[in-house]
Symmetry: C2
Subunit: 106 residues, 2 copies
DNA sequence: ACACTAAGAAACTCTTAGCTG
DNA sequence: CAGCTAAGAGTTTCTTAGTGT
């Protein structure tokens, strides 16, 4: 464990969203089509703000987490929470389970 | 002139916002604290999607244009327009003029 | 299992200078 | 003037391998 504090807004929201699904960094990375061998270390650096995320990968994270791109740049916590709820209420199925089902399917 | 088509959402919104103020690429770059010698060519590549913008500079663009960070990642045109209006209606002074005043002050 | 990191390899962006309408 | 781009210089990220909890 021992999570380090995110240093920018994107990393903060990414970690928030991942934790809300109870996913590990590696599993989130795999859900976003990163190779398993690098998924954990890359997500770690994105969350802590060591590296920035290219737009193509931002889209994959957004899709995997069922959130709009803009979510990761919303600075107000309350607004972010509302958007997250609204985005997910569209989907009746629990997404954590959907993601983990996909991962096992491979 | 001869504007090339933006290849991603960030570039599209950046150009939109810049045009709404009637600023040139060079002037926008200078307003975001880029050196005059590079301002035009860099903004050009950000808008056309050749290069991606680091978060630190995204914040400077957002501030110069009086828009929230998330604006540049809103995919729906109608929503983007609404946010732009709302963000600017806070400010009674016309921002194009404010920006150009700053530029001349140097 | 989970989160994180150093170091060299690989990929990207920046500056300069110059082109087109 | 306004927008765009090639190429080498400069900077960042990626992969690998490994640390510590």
């Amino acid at each position: 464990m021992t999570e380090k504090c995110p240093a920018n807004i994107y990393g903060r929201r990414l970690r928030e969203a991942r934790n809300s699904y109870g996913l590990s960094q590696e599993k989130l990375g795999i859900a976003a089509r990163l190779d398993q061998s690098v998924a954990g270390s890359r997500v770690s650096r994105y969350e802590t703000g060591k590296h920035e995320v290219k737009l193509g990968l931002q889209k994959l994270f957004a899709k995997a987490l069922a959130l709009p791109l803009k979510y990761f740049y919303i600075e107000d916590d309350e607004e972010a929470r509302l958007i997250a709820e609204a985005s997910r209420s569209d989907k009746p199925v629990k997404l954590k389970e959907a993601i983990e089902r996909k991962l096992k399917g491979k």
